[in-house]
């Protein structure tokens, strides 16, 4: 097997900000003392005059971003998902969401793959929190190519966007030459008729692997990548529900309020079929190497494949 290139989506984020700065003179970047980790440090180095460190003060950073946006700037406010969506939730809701300001939130270190830092920094709730804000667009890209395209798409729309990036290097499976990002559109990565695996972010590559394992066992699984969690591509989900009759969602996030919930909400309205949710099961994470944690919490191809297998056999 050829070597797969791996790259953390936070790295892609930092790099594409530099590319965008030329095209968008009003683009500015804010961080809260995490530039080295969120990778906005790459931007800071290239455009120090357009980079503003807010110190360890995320609430104020979100408010400053809002104020900058009222004056025509395109601020990217960056910190870990825990602080962007968690600590600053109410500021994002009232100062960015309610006035519908053109602020882009670059949230890195989402999910359990934060690893050794442990539960306090492993944000498995951000998608749930951001989904409740009217008018908030939420994008959770799966790899380097998609992450860069997602940031570009975020700049092009006028309104608040929550971009979710990971710490862990993720396999790059999209082809940079031919990839086209369509905001709000799911991507069918593999056709299948027995079951649909709906995945997002880091779990997309694992789901493709799982589908291959399932194929060897005679299960024909469809794989859909949902990079835009809000607005959700209900059409692709409802079509999958109708055509495969069973959905398994996979996300590096709590099973409460995230992709699984969004998919289940859509399916119950259009074509109720079982929706099995793979994610973090209403519990906190803990310290450990990211890859080991992902396995422990079932966020890996093996568990996806066995869960799908179980669900398919139960249906039969």
């Amino acid at each position: 097997m050829a070597d797969v290139i791996k790259k953390a989506t936070r790295e892609s984020y930092g790099e594409v900000l530099v590319e965008l700065a030329e095209e968008y003179p009003n683009l500015v970047v804010l961080d809260a003392d995490l530039a080295a980790a969120t990778k906005t440090g790459i931007f800071k180095k290239a455009y120090p005059e357009k980079f503003f460190d807010c110190g360890i003060a995320e609430a104020n950073m979100m408010g400053v971003a809002a104020g900058l946006a009222t004056a025509g700037k395109i601020p990217f406010a960056s910190t870990f998902a825990m602080f962007a969506a968690g600590r600053a939730y109410e500021i994002v809701r009232n100062s960015i969401g309610y006035p519908h300001l053109n602020v882009k939130i670059g949230a890195t270190h989402a999910g359990i793959s934060v690893g050794e830092d442990g539960a306090t920094h492993q944000c498995n709730e951000d998608i749930a929190l951001m989904r409740t804000i009217p008018g908030m667009t939420i994008i959770n890209p799966a790899d380097d190519v998609e992450a860069k395209a997602a940031v570009r798409a975020a700049v092009e729309i006028d309104g608040p966007v929550y971009l979710r990036f990971g710490r862990l290097a993720a396999p790059v499976f999209n082809d940079a030459e031919n990839y086209k990002f369509e905001l709000g559109k799911g991507v069918t990565l593999r056709n299948g008729s027995d079951v649909t695996i709906v995945a997002t972010g880091l779990m997309v590559a694992e789901s493709i692997k799982a589908a291959k394992q399932l194929e060897a066992e005679g299960i024909d699984a469809r794989v859909i990548n949902i990079h835009t969690i809000k607005p959700l591509d209900k059409d692709i989900i409802c079509k999958a529900a109708a055509e495969t009759g069973l959905i398994v969602t996979v996300e590096e996030h709590s099973v409460i309020g995230g992709l699984g919930s969004a998919v289940a909400e859509a399916v119950t309205e259009c074509n109720p079929v079982p929706v099995i949710k793979i994610g973090v099961n209403d519990e906190y994470g803990h310290s450990g190497p990211a890859v080991d944690l992902l396995k422990e919490f079932g966020l890996c191809a093996d568990n996806i494949a066995s869960t799908v297998k179980k669900a398919v056999s139960k249906r039969k």
Partner: protein
């Protein structure tokens, strides 16, 4: 300040106070006390200081005001109505279903520069506006009005740190120091004092001002304009409920609307004041 200008401002401020009473009475809710304590301030800013144009509320180079103590929206709305951003009649439907004027300021209302009301947030947005002004080399000023209870919010001090770090001398924060918050005197609830020392310690230039004396107000803002390289905090010593006898210094009038009898009395007092000024 010359006598004519002062009298003009006093007259407008009196009308602004009438609008506050009109709005909260018709809404049967709202916050008259703190609205009355900033009525002179907002009158001065919108009629003697700020570069704004009611026919172009979103004009790029305008001065901006963020009412961080957003619950005092009746005063902001009343002054915006006096300044011609919208009709005085809008005040009569304040807080009603379908009305333009929301309980707390909304950015989509003409003349309102930022949605606010969740305390502590407005000053951060004001910092962002001031930073944008610096980046664009535009001369506009950003004013933000905070409550003295509001400065108990931690975010205010995050913003205070940010403003001085980035030398936002185009930012002026006015703290409405009327000494009262919902649960009682600020000194008894969970004292934020000494507010002046705190702003000084955070690197701001601090000015004390009498909130109900236009000479003092003018002197404070004249001094603020001379400050280079640091943001300015004006601590305005005010009287909650100023201008309506039974509301003055009464914590109970923080968030309560006047009934018909109280409305009549307030309007009669303000009308008497107006006749005196116009007479």
């Amino acid at each position: 300040m010359d006598a004519t200008t002062k009298k003009q401002l006093q007259t407008i401020a009196c009308k602004v106070r009438m609008g506050v009473i009109e709005g909260t009475f018709n809404a049967k809710s709202g916050h008259p006390g703190g609205s009355l304590s900033i009525s002179d301030l907002l009158t001065y800013l919108y009629f003697a200081k700020m570069h704004v144009d009611p026919s172009q509320p979103e004009m790029a180079g305008r001065d901006r005001l963020v009412l961080s103590k957003g619950h005092c929206a009746p005063a902001l709305y009343s002054v915006l109505a006096q300044r011609g951003f919208f009709s005085y009649d809008e005040l009569k439907s304040l807080r009603h279903i379908g009305a333009m004027l929301q309980g707390h300021p909304c950015i989509h209302t003409p003349g309102v520069d930022m949605s606010s009301g969740s305390l502590g947030q407005g000053i951060s947005a004001a910092c962002g506006m001031a930073l944008a002004g610096k980046l664009d080399n535009t001369a506009y000023k950003v004013y933000t009005v905070l409550g003295d209870g509001e400065v108990e919010e931690g975010q205010v001090w995050e913003a205070a740190m940010f403003a001085s770090h980035y030398k936002l001398d185009n930012l002026i924060a006015i703290v409405d120091n009327n000494g009262l918050q919902i649960d009682g005197p600020i000194s008894e609830v969970c004292s934020p004092e000494p507010i002046t020392d705190k702003f000084t310690a955070f690197g701001w230039h601090v000015i004390i001002m009498d909130a109900h004396d236009f000479d003092s107000i003018e002197a404070a803002f004249d001094e603020a304009e001379t400050i280079v390289g640091k943001p300015v905090a004006i601590i305005q010593k005010s009287v909650k409920g100023k201008g309506v006898s039974y509301m003055e210094n009464q914590v109970g009038w923080h968030g309560k609307a006047p009934n018909k009898e109280e409305y009549d009395q307030a309007m009669s007092e303000l009308n008497a004041k107006l006749s005196e000024l116009e007479g």
